[in-house]
Amino acid sequence: MARLHYYLNIFIFLLVSTSVNGQLIKSGEKLVFAGSYNMSGLMTQLAQVTLSTENVTTAKNTYLHLSCELSTYSKWDSFFKIRDIYESYVNPQTLRPSLYKRNIDEGGWTKKEKYVFKGNTVNSTSKRKNSLETQKTFTIGGSTQDVVSLLYKVRTIDLSKLTVGQTQSLMIVFDEKQIPVTLKFMGKETISAGNLGKKECYKLSIGAKTDALKGKDKNLIWLTADQKKIPVLLQFSIPVGTGKLTLTSATGI
């Protein structure tokens, strides 16, 4: 159970730390991925991950709601049911987050997190099953994103000008602390992109100052080499194994 939980966190973290776009992120976008995990040398389909965007309006503002949902396939539900939601409410123009929420239910083990962004300060609250709620306040840099909004922020980077081996540094907030993330451009490859057919993609290596990721250039993401920069494939290597996310459907892009 701990292994799965660990894997899922990394899975979300990686997915979310890899999105791109030279234009503003549109409301109504929906990307569906099949998540597989390497068990005893064989890739096993485990869960569906859905990334979606929509506008949310309050009395004073409009936000872009970025949502990342993870659900185990029905065949797994009776053994280990997972229903996770990671979401971020951001400024539609700057993608700067105002609110980040994480609600996870993994085989009955639950955790709720909330990060409220106020300028360079983050107020976080965290509540695990059968534990008291904890609160923390910490400062962040001006361009720090939460893990979900980072995915979309990356999609605004112009990757066409990068040369092989060139890196980009970013900062994210994860597990109530700020973590630096490095993206390294690895070149271009043509791969299958679900309903989009075969696509030429940018290949990026993700590095983060965390024990969660293993190996050099073993955590990779492929983004379509066009203006939309849709995440198509993601491979990851963590201390407890390897896995991948494969795009199966992209709509509203």
């Binding site: 099949a34 068990m39 005893s40 064989l42 096993t44 389909q45 569906q48 949310v56 309050t58 009395a59 004073k60 503002n61 936000y63 709601h65 949902e69 659900s71 396939y73 029905s74 065949k75 797994w76 539900d77 053994f79 229903r83 939601i85 979401e87 409410y89 105002s98 609110l99 929420k101 609600n103 909330k114 409220v116 106020k118």
Partner: protein, 108 residues
């Protein structure tokens, strides 16, 4: 030696049956393959009157192989509609909207 093969063949056949019913996809082929190998070795080491059991184990391996292949080919990976989860999502969204308004008021 025959006894060792017998125990291993029985153990891995049992494991293969269990794995084939779990949602482990093709991972079930691992114990099936091992069970098949030990059953073959058991068959080789058995005299004519002892061959019934290894043949039965090989037959079971064959059946569960078909079962696993059938599951892999015909059972689709899909998400079931989860009304509890859908309800929870709506509540989370409503809650978030209130929290966003609180943030706006705090920043004023």
């Amino acid at each position: 030696m025959r006894n060792a093969y017998l125990i291993l063949a029985l153990f891995f056949t049992f494991l293969a049956v269990v794995f084939s019913f779990l949602p482990l996809d093709t991972i079930a082929f691992l114990p099936i393959g091992i069970a098949f190998s030990f059953s073959l070795l058991l068959l080789k080491k058995s005299i004519q009157s002892q061959k019934k059991l290894p043949k039965t184990l090989l037959f079971i391996c064959g059946i569960i192989t078909l079962f696993v292949v059938g599951k892999t080919v015909f059972v689709k990976d899909e998400i079931v509609e989860d009304t509890k989860f859908e309800k929870e999502k709506v509540e989370i969204k409503k809650e978030a909207q209130k929290e966003l308004e609180e943030i706006e008021n705090d920043l004023e």
